[in-house]
């Protein structure tokens, strides 16, 4: 049964703008801590560029390490936002209201951070320009559009631009609220950002239509992005474990699994940090957990198909790779942790209503999923390269260096830092969406019970 807390609009404004208008002291403490990690990471990146990429643990034949693993991971996380927001918007799911903004913002920031990884991995990032843009005009040479390394930037650029615009359009009414609740220079800035928003029926109608239209446009883009990321691997015919036709849907569903779990983690953190218990309620986390059971099980199906089809091929090299992934040190503990964390522990737990409505258990189990899904990407990328060549004298393994680990940790800190910065400037829960839900909410009496109802728009 849905719970309902009907709040007057001034209270909604005060509670959801609390952090944006006056951040508490602990907020600045967290910002300083995250900022310190980001500074350390930036120094590490500078050092890596200065001394060369030889400081990383990558070596022949494993030339893609945890920076590429992290790239795929963050692209995956970015899928939560728009997928969740768009599908829930299009299906008019009432429980979407507190989740959409956080999910969309997570999309934008994780995509930005994901795109940074290949740049750092390039060793000499300025050469990215050399590869991704037309060059050498005098000889008429152009980039090779047959390469997935060109498809990738085009997809990520489209998705990042679309997601950022999606967030900006939905922010306009909320910027008008902040404009009306501030004074001085702050008010001038928000006045400019609100662009003269007054809340006329035309503006509201366009805002609602825009939500649906942009959702419908971004959904196919989100599917294409991780499909194209998967093709970075799948079109490599020479690497066992990469050249798999099922990779596109397998990557997309894996991305949704990890992304929606990240949204659950983030929403619970928001509830705890900003005291938004009236907005992020048990019913919201429960609905997301139910969605995750379906997504996770679909992902498991794809995982099973990918693994079993590889064995069914009866190719000795392919079978040797699978044996290495599942039974050989140092990969077997990672494989065991991956399957336990991403499915076997969380999904059966989420079958119980009490667990789904328990914020603490949901927080930790959703976090487990993402640890598991990070390991999944590691197990796809690294072992396949380690056995890329046929002859054993060309086999090798990979151990990430301290600098790589620091850069990966920095990526997490940077996403969190960006989210916290956003929370200081704008509301992480869309005010107008919450208010609309309150306006449309109603109660109906059935027999001796009063139950929540909703006036649905045509």
């Amino acid at each position: 049964m849905q719970q309902r807390v009907v709040l007057p609009q001034p209270q909604v404004n005060a509670e959801l703008l609390k952090n944006a208008l006056r951040a508490p002291l602990w907020y600045w403490g967290i910002m300083a801590f995250l900022g310190a990690i980001v500074v350390a990471g930036s120094v590490a990146v500078g050092f890596l560029m200065n001394k060369g990429f030889g400081l990383s643990g990558t070596n022949r034949p494993v030339m893609w390490g945890i920076l590429i693993v992290d790239f795929v991971f963050w692209i995956g996380i970015s899928h939560a936002g728009v997928m969740l927001s768009a599908i829930l918007r299009l299906s008019k799911a009432e429980w979407r209201r507190p989740a959409t903004r956080a999910a969309e913002v997570l999309t934008v920031f994780s995509l930005m951070i994901a795109a940074l990884h290949p740049v750092v991995h390039a060793g000499r990032p300025w050469r990215i320009i050399y590869w991704s843009f037309p060059y050498d005009f005098s000889r008429g040479l152009w980039v090779n559009i047959r390469s997935p390394l060109i498809w990738d930037p085009s997809a990520i650029f489209t998705y990042l631009t679309g997601s950022a615009l999606f967030v900006i359009v939905a922010l306009i009414p909320d910027m008008a609220v902040i404009r009306d609740h501030t004074t001085g220079l702050k008010q001038k800035v928000y006045r400019a950002l609100a662009m003269g928003w007054r809340g006329t029926p035309r503006q509201w109608k366009l805002q609602i239509v825009a939500g649906f239209l942009l959702s419908a446009l971004l959904l196919p883009v989100f599917v294409s992005v991780h499909s194209i990321v998967s093709w970075d691997f799948a079109v490599m015919i020479g690497v066992e474990g990469y050249h798999v036709t099922i990779f596109a849907p397998y990557f997309v569903i894996g991305a949704v699994h990890s992304g929606v779990s990240a949204v659950v983690t983030m929403m619970i953190l928001m509830k705890w940090m900003f005291g938004w218990g009236s907005y992020i309620r048990e019913e919201h986390v429960e609905s997301l957990a139910k969605l995750l059971i379906v997504i996770g099980t679909t992902w498991l199906y794809f995982f099973f198909v990918e693994f079993s089809f590889a064995l069914y091929s009866m190719e000795s090299q392919e079978i040797a790779l699978r044996e290495m992934q599942a039974f050989t040190w140092p990969y077997w503990p990672l494989a065991l942790t991956f399957i336990l964390f991403s499915y076997i522990i969380p999904i059966p737990l989420w079958l119980f209503r009490k667990v789904r409505r328990n914020f603490k258990i949901m927080f930790w189990t959703s976090l487990l999923v993402n640890i598991g899904m990070w390991l999944e990407r590691f197990l796809i990328i690294v072992p396949s390269l380690a056995r890329k060549q046929v002859w054993p004298f060309d086999w090798s393994t990979y151990h990430p260096s301290a600098i790589e680990v620091l850069i990966v940790v920095t990526a997490y800190a940077l996403v969190f830092l960006l989210l916290m910065t956003f929370a200081k400037l704008f509301p992480l829960i869309p005010l107008f969406d919450i208010k609309e839900g309150q306006t449309l909410s109603d109660d109906i009496v059935i027999g001796k019970r009063r139950v929540p109802a909703l006036r649905v728009e045509e």
């Binding site: 037309p134 008429g140 152009w142 559009i145 047959r146 085009s154 489209t158 679309g162 008008a176 883009v221």
Partner: protein, 169 residues
């Protein structure tokens, strides 16, 4: 002529709807007044006119432009350096399709956002009379009134239940 804004409390949406009816009876058609709210209300809740827009045209225009540009760039760059590799055709259609797909969607999204701003009449820094209480839940009715009818319209709004009436000359 002056601009007038009648403010009704959040819980008095019905009074605001009655006020628009009273304004129509007083000779102001629903094209003369505008409703301002801090959150979306069902269309026509206050008897306002139906909003017509052409937003749906924008994504199609953008998609067409994005597709054309993507095909042009991918096609022209390959044709500019016609090196045959492995006997394959110069123009690689599968690869072009992928980039054209992204170009189409990018064009559609960019034009949709432009359309949203254009159809919402934003940015509009001098949009007319406004009160910050709107975003705190008040429902506003704005209209332009001739000087000699100011008192009569103000009384009409107050009788309908307006908590406050603001006049801007």
């Amino acid at each position: 002529m002056a601009q007038m804004l009648g403010l009704f409390r959040e819980e008095e949406a019905e009074s605001a709807a009655n006020a628009t009816e009273a304004l129509e009876q007083a000779g102001y058609s629903n094209e003369n007044f505008e409703i301002l709210t801090g959150s979306p209300y069902p269309e026509g809740a206050f008897g306002e006119r139906e909003v017509k827009h052409k937003l749906y045209v924008f994504p199609f225009m953008g998609a067409l432009l994005g597709f054309s540009v993507a095909m042009l760039v991918t096609g022209a760059t390959q044709a500019a350096y016609p090196l045959v590799v492995g006997g394959k055709p110069i123009l690689s259609l599968p690869a072009m399709t992928i980039i054209a797909y992204e170009g189409t969607m990018l064009g559609a999204i960019l034009f949709t956002v432009l359309g949203i701003f254009f159809e919402s009449r934003l940015p509009n820094p001098n949009a007319g009379i406004y009160d910050p209480r709107i975003t705190a839940g008040y429902i506003g009715i704005t209209l332009t009134v001739a000087d000699e009818r100011l008192n009569a319209v103000e009384q009409l709004l107050r009788r309908a239940g307006a908590a406050d009436v603001i006049v801007k000359r």
